[in-house]
């Protein structure tokens, strides 16, 4: 198991540039907690033993004297200040404040829905085609891409799979079509609620290529290695709102792009919107057979099987 500052935290492998920062802070905080707890615990157990009735029949009205509790508390304050000022605040500021500029980053739109992750790549021209929620049709045009927009012709749309190049800054515009979902890439140390009505930028830089399937015990079971997890309760099938993501080396990523681009360019022209809105309370949810919950079949909602 990976350790941080000597502490095994049972974290998934940290595969992004900023993962170490977060994990180290996490380990630091946990060390702090352990030291407090153990120190506190020794005092606790000793007091129970030393001042049990059998040993100390008459209690002292005065009790403990001295200021060590004040020093202890001051110490806690000091450490918390350091954790905040030296670590937490600056790290968060770089995490959310320094969004890479669009030219240098690989951009992907991720749109969550019950219960899938849609990824939208701008294609060769680097421009996302126009989308409109009114054009959305289930299955055919999940993002509501406007077929009339030229910029959208070369766009690439995938479901439940995200392909990323290693060592490049990734900028994801995250949003949702229906309810709040939680976009989580555990190995990237990325987590962000996908909130309908808002588009929220997230960025990170993968530094490891996804290991081949079967290389880790967990991957062998679920047949995919790194997965997009849904962290926020979003309805019946929240537990199966699983996508996978794969970090390729530069060549692998180009290959994947070129293999998939044309296929998607021929996006079927969507029929006119049905104009059959559902009522808020009668929202239908795709039926799922929960009885077979022995893990979803890998790729059962995927547009293409994981290329490896």
């Amino acid at each position: 198991m990976e350790t941080h500052y000597g502490l095994p935290l049972n974290l998934p492998v940290g595969a992004s540039a900023h993962a170490d920062q977060l994990d180290n802070l996490n380990a630091l905080v946990h060390w702090f907690m352990i030291v407090l707890f153990v120190g506190w615990g020794i005092f606790f157990v000793y007091s129970l033993f030393r001042f049990r009735k059998g040993r100390n029949p008459v209690a002292s009205y005065e009790g403990a004297k001295g200021h060590f509790s004040t020093y202890g508390e001051a110490g806690v304050v000091l450490i918390e200040v350091i954790l905040l000022v030296a670590f937490a605040v600056p790290i968060w500021a770089t995490r959310v404040g320094t969004v890479p500029d669009e030219q240098n980053a690989v951009r992907v739109r991720v749109v969550a829905e019950q219960f899938a992750w849609n990824a939208h790549y701008p294609g060769a021209d680097g421009v996302f085609g126009r989308t409109d929620s009114k054009l959305i049709t289930a299955g055919m045009n999940p993002l509501g891409l406007d077929p009339k927009d030229a910029a959208g012709k070369d766009d690439l749309v995938t479901i439940n799979q995200l392909h990323l190049p290693v060592n490049r800054k990734i900028l994801i515009d995250l949003s949702s079509k229906d309810v709040i979902h939680g976009f989580a890439l555990p190995q990237m140390r990325v987590k962000q609620d996908a909130i309908p009505g808002q588009t929220i930028p997230i960025w990170f830089e993968p530094i490891l290529v996804t290991p081949p399937e079967n290389s880790l015990p967990g991957c062998a079971v679920t047949k995919t290695c790194w997965e997009i997890a849904c962290a926020q309760l979003c309805g019946l099938t929240h537990y199966r709102m699983r996508g996978f993501y794969q970090v390729h080396d530069a060549a692998g990523y180009e290959k994947w792009l070129s293999e998939n681009a044309p296929k998607v360019a021929a996006l079927p022209t969507p029929p006119a919107p049905t104009g059959e809105p559902v009522t808020p309370t009668g929202a239908a949810v795709p039926g799922e057979n929960p009885a077979g919950s022995g893990g979803p079949q890998p790729g059962d909602q995927d547009a293409t099987p994981p290329a490896q």
């Binding site: 998934p12 670590f87 229906d178 022995g294």
Partner: protein
């Protein structure tokens, strides 16, 4: 407005003092704070057990996903568990209702409604609560709220299933159970508003002569701050519930943004709302609410510790200032539940700082408690065992709040089992243990009898063992990144594979914990009937509830004569005193 009505009761009260109320007036629609306290206590224990039962069912599904629930599986019907196999919608209902019931129908009514009601007037030397009729109304509103919540399991589509947090848009488009949840909440909120007003007036106005603020038992202080939190925080959820009710019933879009597409179809609403608005209003209540869950527990622990160390609490004043400060700060930390909603640097900095600040008074409280042990003459009776166990358990719960309170570490831990582990350590082996301590400690007050020490010790040791067996692994699973609210306990995720086995162990522990409650339930009823009879002050305690009345206290009026307080609450082992305790009213 209802405050006014209360006076009517009292004019009649002059005449009414003489004629005895009948059965209904005495036990059902009683206005006596002690009876109401017992009503609260009994109802909330039943709900606690109910909430636990829901969780035991869920723990089956988590340990053995997709396997039919043994024995009781057939009871839930085709809609919830065909062939005994729990459906995801049923799992989500159980989860949302477990959280709701435990928090709003279990712990808060037990800690505030039962302990507060029964003990606060006694501890401050008052004849009753300031507004007895309101007190009764408060209990019955709670009762109705509970019935509505319970009934919601039987409506079409089942009970609320969007989590106890009820985040829209999911909750806006959920089946009817959610509407019941909202109405149930409104009743509970009214109940709690009446109750907290009553507590505040009682504590401010009805303290016995000589009982100055700095002579109040710490328990009363804890209840006082709690009442303020309830009074000023709950209205935010009240407003939010009204808005969500409008969304669901009148078709408004307070929480629905424009352009929603559900299952591939446009939602026919005007849009223009904000899902995050709900979260702000909800957490504006719910963060103070979590301190409502812990403050009365602090209060109980303080009483039990002082009594069983036979010495005054260490740093009484710092304890008081800490809980007041804690109460104050708890209104400005709520957005630490929302770090992952897209918060920028400014707000997150603010909320990280306030969250770290609020941990300081807890540290002070815990430090004062533990230093109180130093120099004591510690009796290890059952209430004390629970109180002592509370300390390290709350410490674990509180400490695990720290990595959650720092936004960068919260990235990995948010919405994982780490959060579940964090707060269960505070509320289960924390608050629930404190409740047990209180029940064992004050049982002689209610009945004039004590509970069995042997059964109590069995109850304690097994509960302690099993409860850690449930919640410690959760922290470990959370670190591995396992999301919460997963119907299959993470089975389909590769990163969860390494910690899946723990699910079985946790579930066995949960069922073991349930078995460990049997000695308690037996003890409770057996001791009521057959327990050893004791005098009015079996623990040799100093505070007024023991000092000036019989056990159980007088039917009406509490005290034969109003005591005059002359000293602080915890004069144990006062040098030169004849006994090792000197009651508050003894010179």
């Amino acid at each position: 407005m209802a405050l006014v009505d209360d006076h009517a009761a009292h004019t009649h009260g002059h005449a009414g003092a003489h004629h005895e109320p009948g059965f209904w007036g005495k036990y059902v629609f009683s206005q006596d704070h002690k009876v109401i306290g017992i009503q609260y206590g009994f109802t909330s224990l039943v709900f606690l057990l109910f909430g636990f039962t829901l969780m035991m069912l869920m723990r089956w599904q988590l340990a053995f996903p997709g396997k039919p629930i043994p024995i009781v599986g057939a009871l839930f019907g085709q809609l919830n568990a065909p062939g005994g196999i729990m459906l995801p919608e049923f799992y989500n209902q159980l989860g949302a209702m477990h959280g709701t019931i435990m928090v709003f129908l279990g712990i808060v009514p037990l800690a505030v409604g039962a302990f507060g009601n029964y003990l606060v007037p006694l501890q401050i030397g008052a004849p009753d609560m300031a507004f007895p009729k309101l007190n009764m109304a408060s209990y019955w509103l709670y009762f109705v709220g509970g019935v509505i919540m319970f009934a919601s399991f039987f409506v079409e589509g089942g009970a609320a299933q969007s989590g106890w947090t009820s985040y829209p848009p999911l909750s806006d488009i959920a089946p009817d159970g959610q509407t019941y949840w909202l109405f149930g909440m409104l009743f509970l909120i009214f109940s709690s508003l009446l109750g907290s007003t009553n507590f505040l007036v009682t504590i401010i106005q009805l303290r016995a002569p000589g009982l100055t603020w700095m002579r109040l038992p710490f328990f009363v202080w804890a209840q006082f701050v709690t009442a303020f939190l309830l009074l000023l925080a709950f209205p935010a959820l009240q407003a939010a519930a009204v808005l969500q009710g409008m969304d669901r019933i009148a078709g408004t879009s307070f929480f629905l943004p424009s352009g929603l597409v559900v299952s591939g179809q446009q939602l026919a609403v005007s849009g223009g709302g904000s899902p995050l608005l709900w979260q702000h209003l909800f957490w504006f209540l719910a963060h103070p609410e979590v301190y409502v869950l812990i403050l009365p527990a602090f209060g109980i622990i303080a009483e039990v510790l002082a009594n069983n160390t036979r010495k005054p609490l260490w740093g009484y004043k710092s304890l008081v200032y800490s809980v007041v400060f804690l109460g104050f700060m708890s209104f400005i930390v709520w957005a630490h539940h929302m770090f992952m909603t897209g918060m920028g640097t400014v707000m997150s900095t603010f909320f990280q700082i306030t969250t770290m600040i609020i941990s300081i008074p807890s540290v002070i409280v815990l430090t004062a408690f533990i230093i109180s042990l130093w120099g004591g003459s510690i009796r290890f009776n059952v209430p004390m065992l629970f109180a002592l166990a509370f300390l390290p358990m709350f410490a674990i719960g509180g400490l695990t709040g720290l990595p959650l309170g720092l936004a960068p570490t919260d990235i990995h831990l948010h919405d994982t089992y780490y959060v579940i582990g964090h707060f269960h350590y505070v509320v289960a082996p924390g608050t629930i243990f404190a409740m047990f301590a209180g029940i064992y400690y004050w049982f002689p007050k209610l009945t004039g009898k004590t509970m069995s020490e042997l059964l109590g010790k069995i109850h304690f040791w097994f509960s302690f063992l099993f409860i850690n067996g449930i919640f410690m692994p959760m922290l470990w699973q959370g670190l591995a990144g396992v999301s919460r609210r997963l119907y299959d306990g993470g089975e389909s995720y590769s990163h969860a594979q390494g910690v899946l086995g723990l699910n079985k162990m946790m579930s066995y522990s949960a069922w073991g914990l349930a078995l460990a409650q049997l000695p308690f339930i037996i003890n409770l009823f057996w001791s009521m009937a057959k327990g050893r009879k004791v005098g009015s002050n079996p623990w040799d305690a100093t505070t007024l509830e023991w000092a000036a009345t019989t056990s159980p206290p007088l039917a009406h009026g509490n005290f034969t004569e109003v005591p005059t307080v002359v000293r602080g609450p915890y004069d144990y082992s006062l040098p030169g005193a004849p006994r090792d305790f000197t009651p508050q009213h003894e010179g």
